[in-house]
């Protein structure tokens, strides 16, 4: 059948023809939500953090079992984000996260096998659970998502900060006494040198977590999570200066474990976050 005999198809093709390229065109409408942070935050945290992720065999002796594919999927990557978290009096919140250029970007040629995913957005705004993803021009790529932190949780965090703001400072003695009191009343703690306390909590599924509490900093500075068999699943540890709530994060180490795709070897992914800036206002 000759196409010239079916003009409606040509009309359709004409309509479909405009300016298409092989690749996606993610340009969207000009975004109206790309607004400056509102100022009525009762708790506001901003930081500029660079994170580097690297993967290796959890057990170095098993590294030889990793296949070529497994190794191709273990490429290191890094990113730098500017984060801003604003909690409002009514329990609502506004969180923005913007990608910046790392100090030492790790770049691979386009098409590198196993190349880590690159986010398609430059900035994301979470306005009380509504996510808006923006490109480098500040235009909305898409507006989607229904992930919401419950208002009650935000309010309880605000209440903690308000309590600390209005009451006399917590002393080292106060903190020690409270840890002792909690231990007497059932908190499973182990005291270590240098002011470190490990507090274990068993979960209902027999997994358990150990909180690392720094008595000098008056706060939990890490957590290790174990499954029901006692195998470490993930951990994070924070290095900071100051005393809670007036602290400045310096860096954070996070470790996760996953199984390699092909060999099934247990892999450890370490993420190191260096905080370039860290400002907490309340």
């Amino acid at each position: 059948m000759k196409l010239k005999q079916i003009p409606p198809l040509l009309i359709l093709l004409t309509l479909l023809y405009w300016g298409t390229s092989c690749k996606s065109n993610d340009q969207g409408d000009t975004d109206s939500t790309n607004q400056a942070l509102v100022s009525n935050c009762v708790v506001e945290l901003t930081y500029d953090a660079e994170t580097t992720s690297m993967m290796e065999a959890a057990n170095p002796q098993e590294a030889a079992q990793l296949t070529e594919l497994d190794k191709a999927l273990m490429l290191p990557k890094n990113d730098r984000k500017l984060e801003s978290i604003c909690l409002k009096e009514d329990g609502k919140y506004l969180i923005t996260s913007e990608y910046m250029t790392p100090t030492h970007p790790i770049q691979y040629p386009v098409g590198t096998i196993g190349e880590p995913f690159k986010p398609r957005y430059k900035k994301v705004i979470n306005n009380n659970g509504d996510l808006t993803f923006l490109n480098a021009l500040g235009e909305t790529i898409y507006n989607d998502g229904t992930f919401t932190t419950p208002t009650t949780e935000v309010l309880s965090v605000i209440e903690l900060f308000q309590t600390l703001k209005t009451q006399p400072a917590v002393t080292d003695a106060d903190f020690n006494n409270t840890i002792s009191l909690l231990t007497t009343n059932g908190l499973n703690t182990t005291q270590f040198p240098n002011g470190i306390v490990a507090a274990r909590t068993n979960h209902t599924d027999n997994s358990y977590s150990i909180a690392i509490i720094d008595k000098n900093a008056h706060m939990q500075t890490g957590q290790l999570n174990f499954d029901a068999n006692g195998v470490l699943q993930h951990l994070f540890m924070i290095k900071l200066s100051g005393v809670a709530p007036q602290v400045v994060f310096e860096r954070m180490v996070q470790v996760d474990f996953i199984n390699a795709f092909e060999s099934g070897i247990r892999l450890k992914r370490t993420q190191l976050t260096n905080y370039q800036t860290f400002n907490l206002l309340f």
């Binding site: 945290l45 290191p76 969180i95 909690l182 470190i196 909180a211 370490t270």
Partner: protein, 451 residues
């Protein structure tokens, strides 16, 4: 008088030229089977809209069941059909296996009238991919089928990793190649098959367009999108967008919940101490209880959140793995080693090593010291690390550049940023540019289609 004849002659000549320019070129547009090649309808329509004048050889029988015959049989049938019709000056335009039929027609040297061919995304040297897509024998899974099964098995660890069921769509596509009649057809296209081995370099002018899907390392996923959109415009981004959205949304949500949990961690214990200090004697017990509950809830919350992070990582990995393995098993690649800059604290003790040690000696004292120093690493400054990564030969997600190439072409064009399914759509600039150059005479008069 001479002048009058001269003017008359020029007028006649210009009329003949004009008349000739308006004569449509006879063309034969052949795609491959639907699994690896969209039909040319979209492009034919656009070429006509752009005023290219051509007629088409009747291909109804071919498109009615492309897999019905093998390539030599189709070539013979077209030759007979065109010879009987007395066709002359036919331009053959082939995508995928359609190009191999054209080459075979030319090789048979019949009076088919075929006098130039455009080979667009054609596996001129055979497609190694079919060694992986077709089973070695009935009842045995192909290597590609096993790959997808592995991906689906791995994905079960990431329970909520849906991403538009991208992997299932890939499985459905790959399973079709195991159907006996389809597998038989595509086995012809393997390198070293009798067909590929016996194909000779065409003696008529030919041009080559080769696709290069070079946008990222997700060629297979792009190919799947384009295949599912083959009846439209071969768009390659739907599965990627689904996958990207799912990963981005979950990761953003998890990261932001972690940020709020961090705020709770900063103020949690100090706030509890403050509340205890303010408590009336009779209410201390209640405050302690609520603090203990808050500690347990907070720890569980972070436990679940970290599991969510791991699941997102697994979801990301399974999609990367599917694409990476597809590339590794189908295309040659080079290993490149480079030095990168990383924070220098990786070479020092990590906190999980403290717990590994603790698991073996249960020495609280050592654990305490270890924990107190493990995060005190000197992370100021950087160090270097060696990383090896693999870069494949340029390909269109189905065939490599080498497989698509054919020495001696009048001109060779690169359809950059296009996967195999997109090569037969003029909608894509690099494809359209190649064709318009050919039709306008950029590779010689043999490829001209008049306007």
């Amino acid at each position: 008088m001479k002048k009058i004849f001269l003017i008359f002659g020029l007028l006649c000549l210009s009329g003949v030229v004009h008349l000739y320019a308006q004569t449509p070129r006879k063309t034969l547009w052949l795609s491959g089977p639907g699994l690896t090649s969209p039909q040319w309808l979209n492009t034919i329509g656009i070429a006509q809209m752009e005023s290219y004048k051509f007629d088409q050889v009747n291909t109804w029988q071919y498109y009615n069941n492309t897999n019905a015959n093998d390539i030599p049989t189709w070539a013979q049938q077209f030759n007979t059909q065109m010879a009987n019709a007395g066709q002359t000056d036919v331009l053959g335009i082939g995508h995928d296996a359609g190009g191999l039929i054209l080459r075979y027609m030319a090789q048979l040297q019949s009076t088919n009238g075929l006098n130039a061919i455009i080979l667009d995304g054609v596996p001129n040297q055979g497609g190694a991919v079919f060694s992986k897509l077709t089973p070695t024998s009935d009842g045995i899974l192909s290597e590609a089928q096993r790959l997808v099964n592995n991906a689906l098995n791995y994905r079960t660890q990431a329970q909520n990793c849906v991403a538009c069921r991208t992997i299932e769509a890939t499985q459905s596509y790959i399973n079709t190649f195991a159907v006996s009649s389809i597998a038989d057809y595509y086995r012809q296209l393997k390198p070293g098959s009798p067909l590929i081995t016996n194909l000779q370099t065409p003696t008529i002018p030919y041009a080559v367009i080769w696709g290069n899907e070079n946008d990222d390392a997700l060629g297979l996923t792009r190919l799947m999108s384009s295949w599912s959109n083959a009846g439209l415009q071969g768009q390659d981004r739907e599965y990627l967008e689904c996958m990207g959205k799912e990963l981005e949304q979950r990761l953003v949500s998890a990261n932001q919940n972690f940020a709020i949990s961090t705020l709770r961690a900063i103020a949690g214990l100090a706030g509890a101490v403050s509340k205890l200090k303010l408590s009336q004697p009779g209410t201390v017990g209640a405050v302690i209880e609520s603090t203990l509950n808050a500690v347990a809830t907070g720890l569980r919350g972070l436990y679940d959140l970290k599991n969510e992070f791991r699941e997102i990582l697994e979801c990301e990995l399974v999609h990367q793995a599917l694409n990476a393995k597809w590339t590794l098993m189908n295309f040659p690649y080079n290993a490149i080693t480079e030095t990168i800059t990383v924070p220098n604290c990786y070479s020092l003790i990590s906190c999980d090593d403290c717990w590994t040690q603790y698991a073996s000696d249960h020495d609280d004292q050592i654990l305490g010291y270890c924990l107190s120093v493990c995060n005190e690493q000197i992370c100021d400054g950087t160090t270097t690390a060696t990383v090896t990564y693999l870069v494949p030969e340029p390909n269109d997600a189905l065939y490599t550049k080498t497989e698509q190439s054919l020495a001696g072409a009048a001109k060779t064009y690169e359809a950059i940023s296009c996967n195999h399914m997109q090569e037969s759509f003029w909608l894509y600039p690099t494809v359209r540019d190649a064709f318009t150059d050919l039709f306008n005479g950029g590779a010689g008069a043999a490829f001209v289609v008049p306007k």
